[in-house]
Amino acid sequence: MLNYMKSECYRTICGKSFYRAATALCGFILGVNVLLALAGKYLPDFQYGTFRFSLNMYTGSLLNIVILGAVVPACLFWDDRKNGVMKNAISYGIAREKIFLGKCIVAFAFTFLLLCVGLALYVGSAWLLLPNPEWEPVRQMLMGTLCALPAATASLISGILLGCVVQKDMTAVLVWVSIYYLIPIAFFFIGMKLEWFARIFRWMPYSFLNMEVGAYLHRYDCIWDQAGGIARCIAAGIVGIVIFIAVGLLTFRRKEM
């Protein structure tokens, strides 16, 4: 498996997909802060061109990290099954389980690297371009990232699993969207009538990263304010990781090329 991971690292470093994804992410981050800075400078009544507002945009929408978790491996590995490189790896005797786990580990490493670079660029550009830099929004941003990391990792694994197993790209995207958006929203509405659905909903990333995080201009009301909230984020993420790895191993080991 080590050789397979090394080859994937080599390919990611030599290929263009990772750099395209990194350029798009960094461009977006810089674009947001430049836009806020320009608006703050030239629009007289614009009160959002601040360091706190910029960082709170990130903290208030942590589900974006979960999306990032699926998008990066999609950029890296989406074509592997179609262009025939995966069948080559199998022909050379690399077990399907090792291919799946190898992809997960490599994708996690590069996505985490990208996340770190993105966060540094986010805070750095906001610090340089926007007024009133302060520590509290940075702390909240880092806490939110830590709490979202297990769920983002589960999302990453699910993305790789769908890319490896599902034949059609659109079907894979629909399944992913169903897992992270449609099913939780359904549970939310049914949970208004049936308590059990509401309880399950609380363990879904859509709930604890989206609906239980409030980052406002003058205060924070976040799930990680309490130890129980942090534990729920981490536990839910770990459960997701375990489930998707198990499903991945079980389905991919019988997958025909």
Partner: protein, 308 residues
């Protein structure tokens, strides 16, 4: 050392309700170039994919280098190279980087391996080109180069001459012969272009509708396909008596329409016309024929159509 590099026993594979392979048993000895012949949909690619581990059999067994357990098979596959259907490479990476990727993946030490394979396949001058800018023939070469990384002992090639120009076909043929002779690589090559296999194969396997019709060495096949004389005489019975008496070693067949096929005549028609003339048997027709691999295959197919 194992006598058989690859074997299948009663291998069966279905795609839904369609039976792609029916109890196929093949044995490939070390050093052989095994030509797998069959029409489109005969099951050639399926058999290769099963050997490469890309598909799982419904029943039957695959053995590589004498091993058949799942983990053992995976380990044995590291001794093989495969080019099945489309060559698998990254389109936005250069030829050289694609080969380096597979070198690392196979755990082969030393970067000179890539140089060797580039040279062997004639890709040295295209090393910096990205996969997507290569012509169809060059893509096939890259696929072969990937399969050859680390000099495998067993090479699985599924219609490797597809997309090659005439000179490319000759180069590919020479390369395969060179690999077989110099590096003793066992090759399983599938094709529906019989004339191509005729130049290189040492053993043939004929597939039709998922059935293996026959497995035969090239030598035996050559004997079966050698020159023969077809002679039509006024009195076939008398002529066969003459053959028995005066040409004792002659192998012949009497066809239902009275025509006689003299199989080991060596192409000499005169002595057989003289034999008839001297005995007063009138010759109605005499011609020399050569049964080609195509003829043999077509005959085999006709017979196979009843079996499969």
């Amino acid at each position: 050392m194992e006598a058989y590099v690859a074997e299948t026993r009663e291998l069966t594979k279905h795609y839904g309700s369609f039976c792609a392979l029916k109890q196929v048993t093949v044995s490939i000895r070390r050093g052989e170039i095994y030509g797998l012949v069959g029409d489109n949909g005969a099951g050639k690619s399926t058999l290769l994919k099963l050997l490469a581990g890309q598909l799982f059999p419904d029943s039957g067994e695959v053995r590589l280098f004498g091993k058949h357990e799942k983990r053992e098979l995976e380990a044995m596959r590291s001794r093989t190279g495969a080019l099945i259907e489309n060559p698998g490479f990254y389109a936005d990476m250069s030829v050289e980087k694609n080969l380096e990727y597979y070198r690392i993946q196979k755990g082969i030490p030393g970067k000179q391996t890539v140089e060797e394979v580039l040279e062997l396949t004639g890709l040295t001058q295209y090393r910096k080109k990205t996969g997507k800018t290569l012509s169809l023939g060059m893509k096939q070469r890259l696929g072969l180069a990937i399969a050859l990384i680390g000099v495998p002992e067993f090479l699985l090639l599924d219609e490797p001459i597809n997309g090659l120009d005439p000179s490319g076909i000759i180069e590919m043929r020479n390369l395969l012969l060179k690999l077989s002779r110099e590096k003793n690589i066992t090759i399983l090559i599938s094709s529906h272009i019989l004339s191509e296999l005729e130049h290189i194969a040492t053993v043939y396997g004929f597939l039709q509708n998922g059935c293996l019709l026959e497995q035969i060495t090239a030598e035996k096949l050559r004997k079966k396909c050698s020159d023969y004389i077809e002679i039509q005489v006024s009195d076939p019975e008398r002529y066969t008596v003459l053959l028995e008496q005066k040409r004792k070693n002659t192998e012949y067949q009497v066809l239902p329409d009275g025509k006689i096929h003299i199989l080991n005549a060596g192409g000499n028609t005169e002595e057989f016309s003289e034999l008839a003339g001297n005995a007063g048997v009138r010759i109605l027709g005499l011609a020399k024929y050569r049964k080609s691999l195509e003829d043999y295959y077509m005959e085999l197919k006709k017979g196979g159509a009843k079996r499969c």
